[in-house]
Amino acid sequence: MYSNLLTDPLVLCITLPLLGAALTTALPRHAVPLGILAALATCSAAVTLGVDVWQHGALRLVLGGWEPELAIGLRADGLAVALALMANLVALGISVYASGYFRDPERMRAFWPLWLLLWAALNGLFLAGDLFNLYVMLELLGITAAALGALTGSREAVSANLRYLLVGLLGSISYLLGVALLYTAHGTLDLGLVARAIAANDRLFAVDAAALVLMVSGLALKAALFPLHFWLPPAHANAPAPVSAALSALVVKASVYLIIRLWLDLFAPITGLAAAMFLALLGAAAVVWGSWRALRAERLKLLAAYSTVAQIGYLFLFLPLLAVTPPGPPRDNLLAALVLMALTHGFAKSGFFLAAGLVQTNAGHDRIDDLGGTAQRLPATTFAIALAGSALIGLPPSGSFIGKWLLMQGAIESGQWWWVIVVTTGSLLASAYVFRVLSRAFGLEPTPLKFVTDARAEVPALLLSLVAVALLGLASGPLWTLLALRAGGGA
């Protein structure tokens, strides 16, 4: 009974948003209060889960009371909980913002159930312990993300998101092919059991390697790793603001999380330095190319979308460093820095997109060159953009400052100094594109009287950016403890 109580939040994190989605579909007139209620409930389930894992270590639950081979397992270790907590807090902020965003009641009714389904898929993905269940979650995530992205109904949005849907399907199918190979070879779908089978059986190296290539390339397509990022900027830039925030901060991150998880947990025995180096090279190209395109972007949301391409690239730079660093404090630092950068980007980019959405609705456009005076009209929003921007650059005390610092330290210590050049270039370009926006935003109008003009829309953006800069930077210590809570193994 006690252990049941402990694993309850694990299940609730996924079933509560599902129930919320069902109820907001069935009772569209009460979609907003029901949706907010479901958002609050889901978020508190995630926080409870975080507390449980913090106190009792990694949790594991096999559904249905069957053998782990036969049934589906859920699990929550430090890595999963760190990302799930970030995702749920960001999602709560987005929910509050969205409750006032949609003017058209038809859009609002369409938004809430799809949004809660997307939330359920995110939580399901972070907490899954089963390869096929991950595929189902990826499907749900892809369909809801594309449907939400096309919600504005404009021609560009629909075509960009149709492309996103098809690309996502291709990625999922590629992932599924890899799962099929692994299942054929090892006879189980449970993450822990497959990991053990891969480690124990090196005769099947060719099969495992083929599965690795299929799964990682499918997920890299979904994660928009350079040069597979072509679908991301139009899809993210044309979505409604709360959806852009979710797509950029959370949905892409889920695929990256899965790659990291597979790379470090499942395929650890067969991933060599060369493969990690290849992914890191793509990541480096993403950093430079994404930052450059962000600098050249004419629209604020397009800038934010290209910046996501760059920020995803940073995460892949960690792989070759992790490959050559033996277990110990330096490796823990690298892993924590990787997660810290992912978390910071989640908070900062969602804050940025929410603020950009407010600028867009206020000014009627989001052309960067014509944004003069925004700082006077929307001081809180401009402040949120500045905060989020400083987190994207990696200025102290933001979380990504620590992340980049540890990344460069790791690169120098392991002799791979060239990544330092990539990180510095990316940061310089990032400061250029952030200051380009800020320099336009300040006009010559008189100083405003009110700091906050629209609390429900501005406060979430401000809080999310603030978390990215202050909380994750100044109080990132617990992350090290949390990440040390790894699942002991399979069953």
Binding site: N4, V11, T15, A185
Partner: protein
């Protein structure tokens, strides 16, 4: 003067496109061969015991006689719950894009006569499929597909609503599968058995309950997807008028 040059250019472009697609085809075929080779390697690696034996051995405890149903609604019930959510998301995605387009014109007497025979048969067969899934091939997805097919036929015969009830009821029918599945799972968790862990004595009836709800939800979702848009107030004006003019034999309302 420029015409021949244009022709030559477009010819060249077409040739290049053809070469490219040929190259792609060859590369994809090669990839297929490599994957097949890897697959047989995996199959003959013989490292792992197959799961099928274990799955078959546990069938008597699962509350159903058909191993496929046991996998879908018991061992891996959680996957099926999410699959139902995927179906719901697909319909909601379609609804978010546009109101339902108008239906086809009313069918002639011959087609209407056939429809009035086929649709009841489909509904009865669907119920049979649902029941038989307990011990033989069948189950909620097959039964739901038959219900959906009945909806498609009704719409083809001229009823723009595909025989579905009004929007308010339709929304409840759509979410019935996810709702019932999740509520049963949570109720079991609250009673101390664990999420979606059926007590062996009750397993058969709980599974039947979930499968019935899922059948209705799947049938509604497929028919609604075929209608291709939300049953909005704007679309309902003319369509409701037409529906009331339709003979009652074509109002397929899978009512719970």
């Amino acid at each position: 003067m420029t015409e021949p040059a244009d022709w030559a250019r477009s010819d060249r472009a077409r040739e290049r496109a053809r070469d490219l697609s040929l190259l792609l085809a060859v590369l994809l075929a090669l990839l297929g061969v490599v994957l097949l080779a890897v697959y047989f390697l995996a199959l003959n690696g013989g490292a792992a015991p197959r799961l099928a034996e274990l799955a078959l051995a546990r069938v008597p405890q699962s509350g159903v006689g058909n191993p496929v149903t046991a996998v879908l609604v018991n061992y891996r019930a959680y996957d099926t719950l999410v699959e139902l959510a995927v179906l719901l998301a697909a319909v909601l995605g379609i609804w978010s894009q546009r109101p339902a387009p108008p239906g086809f014109q009313r069918s002639s007497a011959v087609l209407a006569g056939m429809v009035s025979w086929v649709v009841p048969l489909l509904i009865v067969t669907s119920g049979y499929m649902l029941w038989v899934g307990g011990y033989a091939p069948g189950g909620a997805f097959q039964a739901g597909a038959l219900l959906g097919a009945a909806g498609v036929i009704v719409r083809l015969a001229g009823d723009p609503t595909a025989g579905l009830p009004g929007e308010a009821v339709q929304r409840w029918l759509l979410v019935l599968g996810v709702l019932m599945f999740a509520l049963v799972g949570l109720a079991l968790m609250l009673l101390g058995a664990g999420f979606l862990t059926y007590p062996p004595k009750l397993a058969k009836w709980l599974i039947l309950l979930i499968e019935s709800a899922a059948t209705i939800a799947i049938g509604t979702a497929l028919a609604a997807a075929y209608v291709g848009g939300r049953p909005s107030a704007k679309g309902q004006g003319p369509s409701a008028g037409e529906a009331s003019a339709a003979p009652s034999s074509s109002s397929l309302g899978p009512r719970p």
